[in-house]
């Protein structure tokens, strides 16, 4: 059973122009030290939500009538969470999170909820959920535990250079289309800010390829209107140490294999 509730505390975004990002409640709220109180603890995706909010804030500062904003919705993906409706909405209000809608669904039908709500990016800490959503044509990214230590004043999105390079196949698979259009929208948002002091930073990371791959990726992204801020080419070096310095919130990748890595 799928149901959607609007958050009346928050101004609803433009249905056509806003970029809908769905985050699972499990990622946002911590239920481990559950004392059964009214309000959940802060979860791993908190800095991410704050960073998304920061981008919106700065976009509106630049242009008060801006409609290209992030539209953040919370989505439950299992029956247990589905029961906790009032606790979820209550916790959201308590922390003053800029969430416009709540989608309550179960394990079986959450992908339906994603499609119904025109979700352009689905963020979860659960790899299986990400795979399922991806297989159903929704761009997904995996959130990991180091997200908790990521900055909250700047949204840092990592784009995989190895994936950008893929030759354009005809017809373009649904997964790729999603990633391309999302990165284009990010590019449009990014353009509203100057080089320094931007609330949004786009980081290109080439894990396997060398400088040729990276150069091609930079040019390809530029042709799509995405001006990358940082570029890191690893050419096969161990990724752990570099990624932990980078501290990006999530990796944008248009191939399912990225989620399987």
């Amino acid at each position: 059973m799928v149901s959607t509730i609007q958050n009346t505390d928050v101004k609803q975004k433009d249905a056509d122009l806003a970029v809908v990002v769905a985050v699972t409640t499990r990622a946002v709220f911590e239920s481990a030290d559950d004392d059964g109180g009214d309000v959940y603890g802060v979860g791993v995706a908190f800095p991410l939500l704050q960073a998304l909010h920061k981008v919106n804030e700065r976009l509106l500062e630049e242009s008060p009538a801006e409609s290209l904003l992030f539209d953040v919705i919370l989505i439950t993906t299992d029956d247990e969470q589905q029961q906790q409706c009032s606790r979820i909405t209550g916790s959201t209000r308590h922390y003053g999170l800029e969430v416009s809608r709540f989608c309550f669904s179960s394990q079986e039908d959450f992908t339906e909820s994603l499609l119904k709500n025109n979700v352009q990016l689905f963020l979860t800490t659960d790899r299986n959920e990400a795979l399922r959503a991806s297989q159903n044509g929704v761009l997904s990214a995996l959130l990991d535990q180091q997200l908790a230590s990521c900055p909250s004043e700047q949204l840092r999105v990592m784009i995989s250079g190895d994936a950008v390079l893929r030759p354009d196949t005809d017809p373009v698979p649904a997964g790729q289309k999603g990633a391309q259009s999302f990165s284009t929208q990010l590019g449009q948002m990014r353009q509203k800010f100057g080089i320094f002091n931007s609330p949004l930073s786009i980081v290109l990371v080439t894990l396997h390829g060398g400088r040729e791959s990276c150069g091609d990726a930079l040019r390809t992204l530029r042709s799509r209107g995405v001006s990358v801020d940082e570029a890191h080419c690893l050419a096969g070096a161990p990724r752990g140490p570099i990624l932990s310095v980078l501290r990006s919130h999530f990796l944008l990748c248009d191939v399912v294999s990225c989620l399987e890595e």
Binding site: F196, E212, E230, A235, G236, A237, P238, R239
Partner: protein, 397 residues
Amino acid sequence: MSEIKPSEVTTVDGGEEKDWAAAKAFFDNLKTNKPRPVSSFTQVFVLSSSVSLTDFLVLNTIINLICLMPFPSQPKPRFAVTIAVSSRTLFNMVAERKIYEEEGVEKYVAHQVEHESEPLKPGAAFPFVQALMNVNSRLRELYPDSEELFDIVLMTNNHAQVGVRLINSINHYDLTIERFCMTGGKSPIGYLKAYMTNLYLSKDSEKVTEAIEEGIAAATMFMPETENELSDTQLRVAFDGDAVLFSDESEIIVKQHGLDTFFEHEKEFENKPLAQGPLKCFLEALGKLQRKFYAKNERLNCPIRTFLVTARSAASSGARVLKTLRSWGLEIDEALFLAGAPKGPLLQKIKPHIFFDDQMFHIEGAQELGTISAHVPYGIGQKYHRGKLIEQPAKKE
């Protein structure tokens, strides 16, 4: 000071091995040189024989596939001797820097993007990088499967849009630089550590100082006024002794108590090794690669040569230095004791690809006579200029 990387394989997490396997699979195990540009090669082929369109397309595809895997796999950071160079040391970006300082970052980036297809001119670290590449070729000949090589990483604060021009320039000169970090303004220190950097070269003395404080060998590079002709078969590296290879403990005695006290002290403590300086580990890394050539009977033809160029004199204070090196198990090929004579003329004869010194006085002297110099901002020498204590402005609390 930065520790030399362990050479035996320690347990790695599955992620690292997977990266390595994936990279190898991606590159294929082609150990040939860089590919020729596709278009010119196929053009020549087409011109030289009558070939049908389909043949041409097939050939082009094959060449494209080969070109996708153009180079031997990169060594893993923990085995390699990693040299991180900044964009301004690798290339001459003086004119562009001026635009950045006078017109701001947006104009600077726009300028770089506009001139993207124009390769940049070589910078101070360029000959050094080429010499490193030459050593790698020699090492690959003798040890085709070894990962104990130089790994050159471009470490720059530049915005990624400037990166395209940097990549084009690297392509133009055929440099084997496959790894880079374009941090878009963020500090490079974390990345230097992530790459287990053995030496960091930059034009920015603040970053260099920060790196040294974090235990990474680093130096600020200076372009010479004239250019000496350098060897293209042998990497030649010259080091000052005190406050570069060794700590500044003796330097302190000279500055605070004078030369006589210094000589007495050094004679008295001749058999006590000096403490390490910031570049000791880099010399150690060079030594490790040198021994690989000795092991294959290439001592006379070794493509790495190291020099100690010190103001100490052989008679009085030199012994302690040599004994210290011996106690560390390090060799230096030539030790030159100047007893206070200027270093410039001697360096002009040695023609190193890089000369490290902690005192700007010596750097300037070397620069004037055509030696590429690198300042190591470490120790008591930083508080003095030409023998006089620099007045430090009172630090604000």
